[in-house]
Symmetry: C2
Subunit: 231 residues, 2 copies
């Protein structure tokens, strides 16, 4: 139970309790979404396995995103290492330490917003706890779900963790610089994403070399333009 | 809620429900443990992030473990890919597909045992769902917790996911063959493990080159000798 976690214990956690938790979260998330849209802020829920390169992608994005005001919250069970890294990269970042919880929820994000000048941002990234399962279940008021999937993780992850990829608007295939050193079939990996994602969109990136980061920024800019028209 | 998951929702899931879930699991796990000890089977709970190399380590182990009767169950949300791989490597393996659940529990392992001739084994590996948080919370009747941590995941994972490493008897640092291609400070990574693990034991391995696999097998053999004396 992550000391408090009932993941998968659907036989034991009463259905009413489960429904109440998700309904409460959805209500809070809808409230957050209204605020983000109203302020013209593009909110992204950035998910992925531990060490998939979420923070590194944001650092690389900040390096080339001149004039774009970026803020973030970084979820981890412990430490504020990622928020510190993001701040050093010029991103207004706040850590959310979850204790034993394996994902963020709308209440945690809402509370953290008190520490980020989110209304003045162009892009607000919610860097979720490293986990390829539960973060996908909790709506955080984001405009889009983005999954960082490292090519070191293997071809079949989309098939083995469908919950995550079913809800992904974009997958960033990270650590592309390692491709020459891996026995990885990238065509198979992208093919597996196409089998699971309702609308498959994939950008190959390397935070180390900067490859693909401009394409990701273009995707963000296009997504933000839509938000701007809605505001 | 992983569609059924209340991870971290300690404010909403009644404490009594949480306690009931863990108590029920602990009861089942104790029952499993009795059986494993009685039969002289070394049971290992092998955990780690998605793509950390758990299956690859078992394949490499089987290649050099002549005469050792190895069986396994492999947990994943979907697919039986890992069990298929293990069977091809000579391991008597059964898949456990969890649906949306992010970890195994004692009931799932118990049910899967009907499909594995576990009493005839020397080593029974429970390959948990790829997740660096929740699998550590659920006792499965194992003798030892082993965590596969890929060096591609970065130095600070032990500090960011303390729940997992606090309960680890051994950490396998995997994918060592990639070390020359990574900006990784291995001393810092091992130092961080030492900060979190109560009794730090680390073996560096590469399933690709076979490096370290013999040391891991030696560790298993020593562990099994203790079980044998208890039986």
């Amino acid at each position: 139970m992550c000391d408090d976690c009932g993941c998968g214990d659907h036989e034991l956690v009463p259905v009413q309790v489960q429904e109440h938790i998700l309904a409460d979260n959805n209500h809070r998330a809808a409230h957050l979404r209204e605020h983000f849209v109203e302020a013209g802020v593009l909110a992204i829920n950035l998910m992925g396995s531990p060490g998939s390169g979420k923070t590194a992608v944001l650092e690389a994005t900040s390096r080339i995103a001149e004039g774009l005001r970026i803020g973030a919250v970084s979820g981890d069970l412990a430490t504020d290492n990622d928020a510190q890294r993001l701040r050093r990269a010029g991103i207004q970042a706040q850590a959310i330490t979850t204790g034993n919880a394996c994902h963020l929820d709308a209440r945690l994000v809402h509370d953290a917003l008190h520490h980020v000048p989110w209304r003045d941002l162009d892009l607000f990234v919610i860097e979720n706890v490293g986990n390829l399962v539960c973060p996908a279940i909790y709506d955080l008021g984001q405009d889009a779900n983005v999954v960082a999937l490292s090519i070191t993780e293997g071809e079949d992850k989309p098939l083995k963790y469908p919950t995550m990829f079913l809800r992904a608007d974009l997958v960033l295939l990270t650590k592309m610089d390692l491709a020459p050193h891996l026995d990885i079939d990238l065509d198979a990996m992208i093919g597996n994403l196409a089998k699971v994602m309702p609308d498959p969109r994939v950008i190959m990136v390397s935070a180390k070399t900067g490859a693909g980061i401009a394409d990701w920024l273009t995707w963000l800019t296009a997504r933000r333009a839509v938000i701007g028209r809605a505001a």
